[in-house]
Subunit: 197 residues, 2 copies
DNA sequence: GGATTGACCAAAATCCGAATTTGGTCACTT
DNA sequence: AAGTGACCAAATTCGGATTTTGGTCAATCC
C-alpha cells in the first residue's frame, strides 16, 4: 500500500492542479486522500508546506527529465533546445502550472505567485550553470551567465504566457525554432551582399 | 489662451498620471481644467474617449521621438538599439505608463489594461514594419516579424525594468552589448577551438 | 443663441456587519 | 502511536444600505 505521506502529497497535487492554491481546502485534500484532516498535519505542518513539497518534487522531477534528455556529445545549442523543449513539455504534462498561472492572473494569490517564481528561479539557476559550462568549453561566447539565463527564461515565460493573450498560441515547434534563431545564431544576416550606395 | 479642448486634455493627462484611470473622476478633471463637468462633454463624449485621446497623443509623440533618433545611414541593429532605448526613455518621462501599469497589477482595471496593450501594440506594429524593411534589405534573416518584434520589445523592457528588481541595474553600455550579443549576433561561439579531451 | 453650468439621475462602486468557510488544534478513540 | 472529527479563531464571503461617479439637460450666462 502507498505510504500515507505520499498519498497525501498525491491528493494535494491533484487538488492544487484542479482548483489552484486558494480554492483548495485541507478538507478536500483529506477527502481525496481518504483520511481525516488531522492526519495531514501529522505529515505536513501547514497548507503552505504541502504546497512547497509539491513544488519541490516538481522541480526535482523537471531536473531529472531535462537531464535525461541531454546528450553529452551533442552540440551545445541542440542540447539547449532539447532541454527547453523538455521544459515546455513538462509544463504541459503538469496542469498545476497552467492552473497556478491562471490563478495568479485572476486573483493574484500570493503563495501561488511566490511558488511559480520559485520554480522559475530554480530553472534560471540550472540554466546559469549550463551556460557557465558552455562558456568554459568554448561553445558560448563569453557573457554574464546569470543575466543571459534570466533573459532566456523570461522570454520563454513571456512567449508562453503573454503572446497567446492576443495571438494564436505558439506551437512547441515554433517556440523552439524561434529561440534557436534568436539566441543561438542571431538575427543579423551576415551573408548580406555589399550595400551599393 | 489655451484652446479649451487642449486644456481639458492636459488636465486629463495630469489626473490619469497621478491617480490612474479608475481613481480619476470627471469632476476632478473639470476642476483641474478650471471648468464645469458638463463642459468636458462638449469636447469628449466619455471618460474612455478622454483616455483614448491621451493615449493616441502619446503614441504620436513617441513615434516622433523615435523617428528623430534614427540615423538613416547607421547599421540596422545600431538603429534598432537607439529606437528601443528611446522607447524606454519615453516611458520613464511619462509617468502615466508607470501609474497605469501599477493600477493594472493592483486592481486589474480593464480600460487601463486595454490602453497599455494598445500602446504596446502600436509600438510592436511600428517595430514590425522596421524589421520587415530590414528583411527586405537583407540586413535581417527571414523570420516572423510580428513575433520577433513582440519578443524584442518585451525583452528590452524586461531588461530595463525587471532586472534591476533583484540585481544591479544595467549600464547603457552593458545593455547595448548584451542586446547585440543576444539578438544580432547570437550566443554561439563559431570560432570554437577543437575540443581537447 | 451657442457656450457653459451644476443640480440631478441611474448605475456602479464601496462599506460594513452578519454569516459562512477555512486553516489549524487537540482531547479522544482505535 | 496513528488517526479522528468536533471545535475555534481568523479570514473570507455575502448582502444590502450608503456613497460615489459617469453622464444628462433645463436653466443661465455672455
Amino acid at each position: 500500500m502507498m505510504d500515507l505521506r505520499e498519498k497525501i502529497a498525491t491528493a494535494a497535487k491533484q487538488a492544487f492542479s484542479e482548483f489552484g492554491y486558494k480554492a483548495t481546502t485541507m478538507d478536500q485534500v483529506a477527502r481525496l486522500a481518504g483520511i481525516s484532516k488531522g492526519a495531514i498535519y501529522i505529515h505536513f505542518p501547514s497548507k503552505e508546506a504541502l504546497f512547497g513539497n509539491m513544488l519541490q518534487e516538481l522541480i526535482t522531477h523537471l531536473r531529472e527529465a531535462v537531464e535525461a534528455e541531454l546528450r553529452p556529445n551533442a552540440d551545445f545549442f541542440d542540447n539547449l533546445e532539447r532541454g527547453l523543449r523538455r521544459v515546455v513539455a513538462f509544463r504541459q504534462e503538469h496542469a498545476v502550472f497552467a492552473k497556478l498561472a491562471q490563478e495568479v492572473r485572476q486573483f493574484g494569490t500570493e503563495p501561488a505567485r511566490a511558488g511559480l517564481r520559485h520554480v522559475e528561479h530554480s530553472i534560471v539557476d540550472y540554466l546559469k550553470g549550463y551556460l557557465e559550462r558552455g562558456i568554459a568549453e568554448g561553445d558560448v561566447k563569453p557573457c554574464d551567465p546569470e543575466l543571459v539565463a534570466f533573459v532566456l527564461m523570461r522570454t520563454y515565460t513571456t512567449l508562453v504566457n503573454d503572446w497567446a493573450d492576443t495571438h494564436e498560441p505558439l506551437s512547441n515547434e515554433n517556440l523552439i525554432l524561434l529561440f534557436h534563431q534568436l539566441f543561438a545564431d542571431g538575427l543579423r544576416n551576415s551573408s548580406k551582399v555589399a550595400k551599393t550606395e
